[in-house]
């Protein structure tokens, strides 16, 4: 669909903040809005407010590189992300909105024997738990992506790759708007430019939030604040296995040719794809020191450009157009944290780090089910916060590291 002719999103902003809601969701990113959307559409729960301190999508949901994939390294994650990937495939039909979803296929490249073993293992575990990934040889890699330098500039030779044909992308802000529109149409309140500054308590229980627009009582409060989750949790004395790290990305000017797949390399720590407008979109790893700042750096650009050129030499002739930063809620085991917190009536969805855009549909759907039923759905039970106390961490760094 042509961007210019699509009808405008019909966002029905509430005229005022009510003094009480059944559910208050803090954070108008993809996860908060999708949770509200599924509460309304699947469970008929519409007395819901989403409280957003900036504008919707101003956090990581509007800053990411939009890669959707399910090729994770542990069974629980493969199942969860595969479900989310399938939900993305139906999202346009479900919301009636063009979110520019496109299936592209994803190559995850190995530059060493160890890398080959890892990509073979990924293919095996994906296949075993319901996703599609196969191991491919250099010849096939070249067919899929002729622009790759198979010698890796002599330093990063390409030995093989795992290929995930269902790897996809979607336009991030359209996803945010589609969920917001659908939720608001059913009566959900989304309050922008309103920050949560504290919690209302009754003994241990959380019974509402303090905001810059006054206090709001709530039956259930959900934290969906991305990188700021520790700050919020500390207001109720809750400690989390989260560190907030900056993640940067950049886009180049238009590359005249079509670049089909998404290409990632753990060895080089970079990944690249081409959005619909034709630029090249490139991302890398988080910055080492935890931070909440949005500054962007030249040395990141230099090193990331250097590494991506080793993979895709044509990038040398392009120019960097824009560079930006998000602040990511990195969990200790590189898996998400969803559900109960131990503080009565306070739920959390976090640990989305550098990988949570693909999880927005399933994360929202499952959190909504948990709120509506009071029980943790089986799909997300492994990702409960108490796994850290129970020696059940979901370690999957090799799959979540960058995108």
């Amino acid at each position: 669909m042509n961007e210019a002719v699509e009808r405008l999103v019909d966002l029905r902003w509430p005229s005022q903040v009510k003094s009480a809601y059944d559910v208050v969701i803090i954070g108008g990113g993809g996860h908060g809005l999708a949770t509200a959307y599924y509460l309304a559409t699947r469970h008929g729960i519409t007395n819901v407010a989403v409280i957003e301190k900036g504008y919707i999508g101003s956090g990581n949901s509007g800053r990411n590189t939009t890669i959707i994939r399910a090729n994770y390294g542990i069974p629980e994650a493969v199942r969860f992300y595969q479900h989310s990937l399938e939900m993305y495939g139906r999202l346009e039909q479900e919301t009636g909105r063009d979110v520019m979803h496109a299936t592209k296929g994803l190559l995850w490249i190995a530059h060493s024997e160890a890398g080959v073993r890892q990509e073979r293992a990924r293919a095996e575990i994906n296949t075993a738990f319901g996703s599609k990934t196969e191991y491919v040889d250099p010849k096939t890699i070249q067919d899929i992506c002729p622009q790759l330098d198979m010698t890796g500039q002599g330093v990063w030779p390409i030995y093989g790759a795992s290929y995930h044909p269902s790897g996809a992308s979607a336009r991030h802000d359209r996803v945010v708007w589609a969920y917001a529109e659908g939720a608001m149409r059913l009566g959900v309140h989304v309050h922008q430019r309103t920050a949560v500054t504290g919690f209302l308590r009754d003994g241990d229980r959380v019974v509402g939030v303090e905001t810059t627009a006054g206090s709001i009582a709530a039956g259930v409060v959900v934290s969906a604040v991305g990188g700021h989750v520790t700050t919020l949790a500390s207001m109720v004395g809750l400690r989390l296995p989260i560190r907030t790290h900056q993640l940067q990305a950049f886009v180049t000017n238009r590359y005249a040719q079509a670049f089909g797949p998404i290409v990632a390399s753990s060895g080089l720590g970079v990944y690249a794809s081409q959005p619909a407008k034709g630029e090249m979109l490139i991302g890398a790893e988080i910055d080492r020191a935890p931070a909440y700042a949005y500054d962007a750096g030249h040395s990141f650009l230099r090193s990331c450009a250097f590494r991506s050129i080793a993979l895709l030499p044509f990038l040398r002739d392009l120019r960097v157009l824009r560079q930006w930063t998000g602040v990511c809620d990195m969990s200790a085991d590189y898996s998400p944290i969803m559900g109960f917190t131990g503080v009565p009536n306070l739920l959390v969805t976090t640990g989305w780090g550098t990988w949570g855009f693909k999880a927005i549909p399933a994360g929202g759907e499952q959190m909504a089910e948990l709120i509506a039923t009071g029980r943790t759905p089986a799909l997300i039970a492994p990702f409960a916060l108490d796994r850290f106390a129970n020696d059940r961490t979901m370690a999957d760094r090799g799959s979540a590291g960058t995108h």
Partner: protein, 84 residues
């Protein structure tokens, strides 16, 4: 967007880009956590992750290979006592 800036002044080597240093967190377990098991859990997984000023360590890997201790504001990446 502001262009980065985070530079650290090493007393031995001079002012250098942050990329020359390895970051080290100083773990802090709140005193309110008293039970040994709870302290172990906190030590293993939890982080103060302050949105504000943190005191932390930096190892000058590209230079003198010594540790510095500095306060940094994580909201701005400003190191108030260490302007380069």
């Amino acid at each position: 967007m502001t262009i980065r800036r985070l530079r650290i002044s090493c007393p031995h080597c001079g002012v250098r880009a942050v990329e020359e240093f390895v970051h080290g967190e100083i773990p802090t377990i709140p005193e309110g956590i008293v039970e040994p098991e709870a302290r172990d859990l906190d030590r293993a997984f939890m982080h103060t992750n302050a949105e504000g000023v943190v005191v932390e360590r930096w190892f000058h890997a590209f230079g003198c290979r010594r540790w510095l201790t500095l306060a940094r504001d994580t909201r701005t990446n400003d190191i108030p006592d260490n302007r380069g």
